[in-house]
Symmetry: C2
Subunit: 243 residues, 2 copies
């Protein structure tokens, strides 16, 4: 058996998320169907199981097979079948122990918020059009408090008894240009809706309805009700995975 690593980008708009589900179109479902046509049925693993509507520019998947694989030919064939919504940026053999999910040591996401009144036709699929000006400096001051190892239960949906402790390495807001803010966040891993919950709280801070220095108490509450819900999925993009 040889293990292969796939680097993927996708526009999640028209998919029901990454993870395969019966009767709906998913990234994993499309990818495994395309792989099956070339090398037979394989099980794929993925670094970040993105929700419905979430995008990726640097997703990583893996699979093992004993079929003969020419990585360049397979990549080109997959791109013809899956493009342009899903792109296979790279496909190559990895070490035998490589597992896209369990070998990953970190994930990085970016969330885009358009805080001007006119929409942007070219960001309609990938940015949350909030439509009112936000105070980026206040949001950056709030985000500082996310960095470090914390129990993020206030920011996690449906924890179901699993640990919600995560180590956040980076959490910053930057203004890309007038009217457009980006949240860059990196952690060992994220619980469900964690980034979107951080964004929703940040936006309340940016509007002036929550003070940046209340974030530590919101984290300490370990209570979903202490936060401010979740921002919409379409502003979120998985940008890279560390191994």
């Amino acid at each position: 058996m040889t293990t292969y690593r796939l680097d993927l980008a996708y526009d999640g708009t028209d998919f029901h998320g990454y993870a395969r589900q019966p009767a709906v179109r998913t990234i994993q479902g499309e990818l495994e169907a395309a792989l099956e046509r070339h090398i037979g049925s394989v099980e794929t693993f993925v670094a970040g199981r993105t929700d419905r509507g979430v995008h990726a520019t640097g997703q990583v998947a893996s699979f093992a097979t004993d079929a003969a694989v020419d990585p360049d030919r397979l990549r080109r064939s997959l791109n013809r079948m899956l493009g342009p919504e899903i792109a296979v940026l790279d496909l190559r053999s990895a070490g035998p122990g490589f597992h896209a999910r369990f070998s990953a040591t970190g994930r990085a996401y970016t969330y885009l918020v358009l805080d001007r009144e006119p929409p942007d036709p070219f960001l309609a699929r990938t940015a949350w059009h909030y439509g009112r000006p936000l105070h980026g400096d206040r949001m950056a001051a709030a985000a500082v408090h996310f960095v470090g190892e914390h129990d993020f239960a206030s920011f996690c949906r449906a924890a179901e008894g699993r640990s919600t402790v995560r180590l956040v390495r980076v959490a910053t807001w930057r203004r890309i240009r007038e009217g457009l803010l980006a949240f860059d966040v990196a952690a060992t891993s994220f619980c469900h809706q964690m980034v979107r919950s951080m964004v929703a709280l940040s936006v309340e801070v940016g509007r002036g309805r929550v003070e940046p220095d209340t974030v530590p108490a919101i984290i300490a509450a370990r209570d979903r009700a202490a936060a401010r819900g979740a921002a919409p999925p379409h502003g979120l993009t998985l940008v890279s995975v560390d191994y």
Copy 2:
């Protein structure tokens, strides 16, 4: 009567071009219908009547009306009705002689070509996925010959007896990042399919099938058959208009 100037951006993917036509969805048709609901029927003029599938980030339109107009309120209402595919970036009163088309002294376009094998899900609507590597330096060398006042009949579709002489001020190819080339071109005005014809020829140069120094002879031929057809519309964006 007061004259108003509108600055527009739009994703042309799902429109049958800018200019109003019966029974199909066009930018002008949508814009005039939305204006009519607020200030009654008006005739709009536009700097660049973009073809089906062509986009704009800096289109300019104008109209005159004796209706009472609050520009900020009207802009917000238009954005609610037209967004996110069409955005009204700005709406303000202009001098009485202002005419979006006839007052314009220059138009600038950008054309994007993805010259790597994998598609880019986020550029699927706005870049031509050529899919094979192109030699950007050769394309830049070819583009130099477009600059200046020339008869561009070789690059114009259906000239119908009108002059095809144009003054091109800027024509450059640049590599935005690995796998992505941009053609920036500015002129007093453009004849039909002129930019897309320049791109098609440039791409043949970039593949090595046409030499950069043959461009002057192709221009001098003043014959559509001397060029190399037209690149697809969806890579083209009107970026700015000068007055």
